[in-house]
Subunit: 473 residues, 2 copies
Amino acid sequence: MIDTMALLDRLRSIVGAGQVLTDAEDLPTYCTDGRGAAGGTPIAVARPASTQEVSELMRVAAQNGIRIVVQGGRTGLAGAGLASESDADLIVNLDRLSRHIDIDPVNRTATIDAGVRLSALNAAAAEHDLFFPIDLGADPSIGGMIAANTGGARLLRYGDVRANLMAIDMVRADADGTILSLGAPLWKNNTGLDLKQLLVGSGGSTGIVTRATVALQRRPALQITALIALRTPAAALTLLLALEEGFGTLLSAFEGMSALAMAAALSHVPGLRAPFAELPDYAVLVELTAGAAFDADLLEERLATILEPLMDGTDAPVIDVAIDHRDDLWAIRHAIPEGLRASGTVVGCDISLRRGDVMRFRDDMMQRLATETPVLKPHDFGHIGDGGLHYNLVWPTSAGAPDPVMIERARVLIFDAVVREYGGSFSAEHGVGPRNIAHYLRFVPADVRALAGAVQQLIAPVSLGRIDFGMTE
Amino acid sequence: MIDTMALLDRLRSIVGAGQVLTDAEDLPTYCTDGRGAAGGTPIAVARPASTQEVSELMRVAAQNGIRIVVQGGRTGLAGAGLASESDADLIVNLDRLSRHIDIDPVNRTATIDAGVRLSALNAAAAEHDLFFPIDLGADPSIGGMIAANTGGARLLRYGDVRANLMAIDMVRADADGTILSLGAPLWKNNTGLDLKQLLVGSGGSTGIVTRATVALQRRPALQITALIALRTPAAALTLLLALEEGFGTLLSAFEGMSALAMAAALSHVPGLRAPFAELPDYAVLVELTAGAAFDADLLEERLATILEPLMDGTDAPVIDVAIDHRDDLWAIRHAIPEGLRASGTVVGCDISLRRGDVMRFRDDMMQRLATETPVLKPHDFGHIGDGGLHYNLVWPTSAGAPDPVMIERARVLIFDAVVREYGGSFSAEHGVGPRNIAHYLRFVPADVRALAGAVQQLIAPVSLGRIDFGMTE
């Protein structure tokens, strides 16, 4: 048995009396995440302010046989930062580990504490006309972004968190809470096995990142956004290839939106302006960004030149185009999740496919779901330029209480098709956690799970976080 | 004792009688690499043509207690693909494992056998107007590029091999020669620990990559190259920041060249044309690339607009500019290694620094080397846009036989300054191997080496390759 009083005293002696939370009014904040869903109740929430404090917390947890669950900005969608129902979890929340934001403007790098939020990093970087190129709707902590290996809307141009991470400081999940520094603020660096990779996309279960050095990019001087209405969803691919040919790396986002997803945003989110007289079956939001040597008129003119032949004739793939130099069109895209939640119960599927398979998959699923789970309507949208798709379904409020059996049937149908028929991913960019780990068990082969579990056990011999990568049936 | 005759028969039964080489006339080809330096003599060279054959070779090696050293294109610069002097190494050369090059033009990916050369991949990709964006002077195999995590001249825009690798098939170094498939041909994919990262930059010592899926990029429709003569080396940084502001991701290379490096290329390599009437102290090769929506005149005009204020006045940072729409200027840059070899004995140091430190380091070293090792002249060049520097020294032929003691003193001086004073890397992009592993021991902390060694032991329990990441003094 844990002597809880003695344990809490030890924790307070590390982080300070006011930074160990156990009261019923304090805990709920730390027990919900990006989906608004509640996790279990932890023994306590400890809020360290330094790597050293995290290390000491780890030592105490190891001595007492309790498990640390690390929590960043509580915007995660896989449940990795929530306590389990076991009553033996200690939440370590890193909000206070956020004092250091050191920008090296010439090197284009930032070294920041893990609890720093994406918005705070970008605010500091903006003073030097730089930004961290992982573009998300939410405002997670940098540590959480590393644990989830987030992707976002500009992956097409800049890659995921892994591709933009140079170094970390970490606390190992071992009896000593060993502190390691891995990597350096260098664009090119190959000095042995790159062990920090084992913390990227780990869901916080292989170690605690306390500081990171990330790559920054120059803020583009110009941005133009076009919402392009398509005759058929399949035309999106034609458009994507034409834009890549014409603009190369100036194409910084290519986001697809189904008619139902757009309609949900426009009906339920105030302040949006409908871009077209009539909503098309499918539309793509295109973002072009360029340096100060160019001007928006030039980009717009060249975009028009590329679109012209695609709009010619009665069967032309492109029906209409709305151009925007501000963020009105992005606002529609960003409003979709809220629009969906206002329409009913959302069943989110964060999947990815080969780019050429996205539209075939949509057609295929549309038919199969209509037969198998007719109440659930696909309202899909997402980063189709990189094959990422938020294949989200809505159980409409008008259809009464959602049927969990039908929802589960739909999920299994979708994920089975994604992975087994299309060779896609059941977890594209929201990371792994309790909410999708059952699919990890189903789809990741036993020999890979066994090796992953052994690696996890080696790097994190003391239980940490919510995921056992070596799980077996 | 190994029964060599029986062992060779087993190997022949796996790969075919003609593909196990032991004759004195066959072996030298497989015992030299990119530096032309000879390694030890192996028991034999086996040339498998499939993943299955590699797996069977691993099983036989494990049973007989012999060590496999994997070899790709023999262009490596760290010695990782050469046999040791132990007489117990079996070279497994992957030249024949090169039948499959499958391009998915819509997904912009290629799935290729590990023995495929970079040039062959690019030739196949070019048919779809695509390319693999790791730009190197040499022509390595894809497997070798993964093992070294090569960088090259366009890392600034496209990242290293790690950032462009989606999936591998591998053979584990275990008693069964277990075959694993890790990853998928997807741009976004997070389904647990990304174990393939443990093979990237491993020097071929953690497993044998037999197939890979890599990201391809659209070939830019336009390219312009400018060689820019600078008043002082420090002006390079001013120029870099101005070009990043103006051109953003259209800046695809930013290569620095010292006067001595340029002079060596121009004096010793036939067919090059001197770009300026008088060689400047320092010059930068700038490459801009863009899609078909632009034209070269436009890029050139915008480049001129950016350079104009930098050329204004008697102390202006930019002295002169040579523009090129073909590859004449690149030819000078690519000729430098040959020029250096023709000038004397080359001492190569593949280092990287924070971008803002590159010129300070050069000044600093120039003075210290002049005092400490005056015969050795820095002829540095490299990828200064990403902080990578080939800080190469030349012992001039005119100075007689090179003094190994002075050469070693220079190396230690350079690497100590790079790592301990500047926080840079002693191994930027040529990978790790016997030639630089002594510095790994000096500079990588004992706790990191211990963990790396344990991870290596876990993933590759049977001895493989030339590197022990857990090495101790």
